[in-house]
Amino acid sequence: MTENSTVTTGAALTLSGVTKRFGDAVAVREVDLELMPGEFLTMLGPSGSGKTTTLNMVAGFLQPDAGRVVLDGREITTTPAHARNIGVVFQNYALFPHLSAVRNVAFPLEMRGVGRKEALRRAHGALELVELEKCADRRPAQLSGGQQQRVALARAFVFEPGLLLMDEPLGALDKRLRETMQLEIMRLCRRVGSTVVYVTHDQEEALTMSDRIAIYNEGVIEQLGTAEDLYERPATTFVADFVGDSTILSGQSLGDGTVAGDGWVAAGPERSVVPAGRRASVVIRPEMVRLSPAEDTKSAVNQMTGHVTDVVYLGSQVKYIVTGDGGDEVHAKIARSTQWSRFERGDRVNATWASEDCVVLDS
């Protein structure tokens, strides 16, 4: 890190049609990604969905079977890893056990021809930035998980790479430490200005840290967008299920954005049209569901009548699980501060939602 910490220009990364097979299994299938310089992109998805494999191909540890990787306009698909000038933070830190923290951080500088003294000076500067200056001479084995993580970060930053890759770096830490480190990583990334590709399976982490998120499922990116895009306008039921808590009702499409299910009819915004006769899913976020005592059984669109089968106290909210007369479940999350009276288990209620608050998707 230079002392006046000039902002590094982040690199622009493009992946086109990147594919990777292991034997018969396709781990990554025709992935396209375009990152703006300085952007923080998270690749989010369940284990085995292809996000780490993609990362390894960008880093140069694996060669794609098809497709191209382009960094700042230069194709690097076949460039060896050591020539790519990309910073990588590994899942278990991969700090060299035989070197002290500061020697670890100085390592990439020495590899680039910086003299020992100067490299150590800059390494100390990097450690200061992650507030580990006092642990500079300790070996990794003598550091805690969180400290090792920060040394790994410093080591990846110190040579000011245009692109930074992070493979589930916080997976081994406990919740409180993870939250602290998330903020720390964001702060550092913003300061340095590198483009960041971050891999995680923790959706909260993704939502907190990223500019944009790519949802991976079985080797394919199901949706790429901001947190808001993914949350409010999920493109598939997988995304709806994976990101945030939601109710997903399954029914038959009536053609004009309306879906009929067991004991309910939902009408989504007109643009979400699924051909009539097909199975469709209706996604409703729990905060958008209103509950009212079911005095009359007049049926209406975007309403489900049923019993409260579960009440979960979440602190700032209360979550109600309502089982409709037809058997389907709707989740509702109601903020504690509202004037709504608390419902009990067994109460008969109407769960309602607005048309623009639900999303109709092809099943």
Binding site: N92, P97, P140, A141
Partner: protein
């Protein structure tokens, strides 16, 4: 430091770094082929230099039969005695505080670092008529006259047990350390007396280590030379001594034949035990 398990491709080794693996292994293989395998082959050929007659004469000769018998019985006796001494020792090692355990372990490992020759002749000094052992026995009033211990079967057994004991203690200790204490607690809670618990739960669980130790001691004892030569009775010669004698007397083909017999015997024991262990392992599932 937590080091993650990298998803290394199983087809190749983990370090696909640099060139091929076989190139690096080749010098070692070549060296062992020339200086290890070839001498064994040569020995086999030498033993056959008179056709099968050498083997015939060995197998039918009562002298050699006795030698084989001696070798087997002494090796067996050594193994048995080692087991009896090593089991309690390993058991205690497992139950004491770490400090004491370290000391006990050091006592077991220390003999490894004193050459076997030194220890063998230390026993000569100790077991001779005027040696410490006899002095102690006479001092305690157990005997009036010095016991003749050198160049006797008891003498060689004492020496060999001493040398082999560490080889028995270590596998036993490892196997015992692996026994989950909770199993013993469970047995107690189910009503087992300490004796029952030992015989029905603890002992079977330590069987692998026991087997390993016995195998180790037995096979090493079969081919032993130094200690029996120094401490053993001339009339109770073991195979190793006889082989060396033959070489001294330029009976190379006989020596080779005997060597092949020893080698075959040792390998046979190993194979039989390996198969047996697999059987037991499978049947206990």
């Amino acid at each position: 430091m937590t080091v993650g398990t990298a998803p290394a491709p199983r087809r190749r080794g983990r370090h696909g770094f640099g060139g091929g693996g076989w190139v690096l292994v080749l010098p070692l293989i070549a060296f062992l082929a020339v200086f290890f395998l070839y001498p064994l082959v040569q020995m086999a050929r030498e033993s056959m230099s008179g056709g099968f007659s050498t083997y015939e004469s060995i197998m039918t000769s009562p002298v050699y039969r006795k030698v084989f018998w001696n070798t087997l019985t002494i090796a067996g006796a050594t193994t048995a005695i080692c087991l009896v001494l090593a089991y309690p020792y390993a058991y205690v090692m497992n139950r004491v505080s770490p400090r004491v355990r370290l000391a006990l372990m050091a006592f077991v490992l220390l003999p490894f670092w004193a050459s076997l020759l030194v220890r063998s002749f230390a026993w000569i000094a100790l077991l001779q008529d005027s040696g410490l052992v006899n002095q102690a026995l006479q001092g305690l009033g157990l005997t009036d006259e010095p016991l003749s211990l050198i160049r006797t079967t008891p003498g060689v057994l004492i020496g060999m047990v001493h040398i082999m004991l560490p080889y028995m203690v270590l596998p036993l200790y490892t196997a015992m350390a692996r026994v989950d204490d909770r199993l013993l607690l469970a047995a107690s809670s189910l009503g087992a007396t300490p004796l029952r618990r030992f015989v029905r739960v603890f002992l079977p669980l330590t069987l692998p280590g026991l087997g390993a130790g016995c195998l180790l001691v037995f096979t090493i004892s079969l081919g032993f030379y130094i200690t029996p030569a120094l401490l053993g009775a001339p009339s109770q010669a073991m195979l190793g001594e006889v082989i060396a004698e033959q070489v001294e007397q330029f009976g190379l083909s006989t020596a080779s034949a005997l060597g092949i017999v020893l080698l075959t015997g040792t390998l046979l024991v190993l194979v039989v035990v390996a198969l047996f262990a697999k059987r037991i392992g499978r049947s206990s599932r």
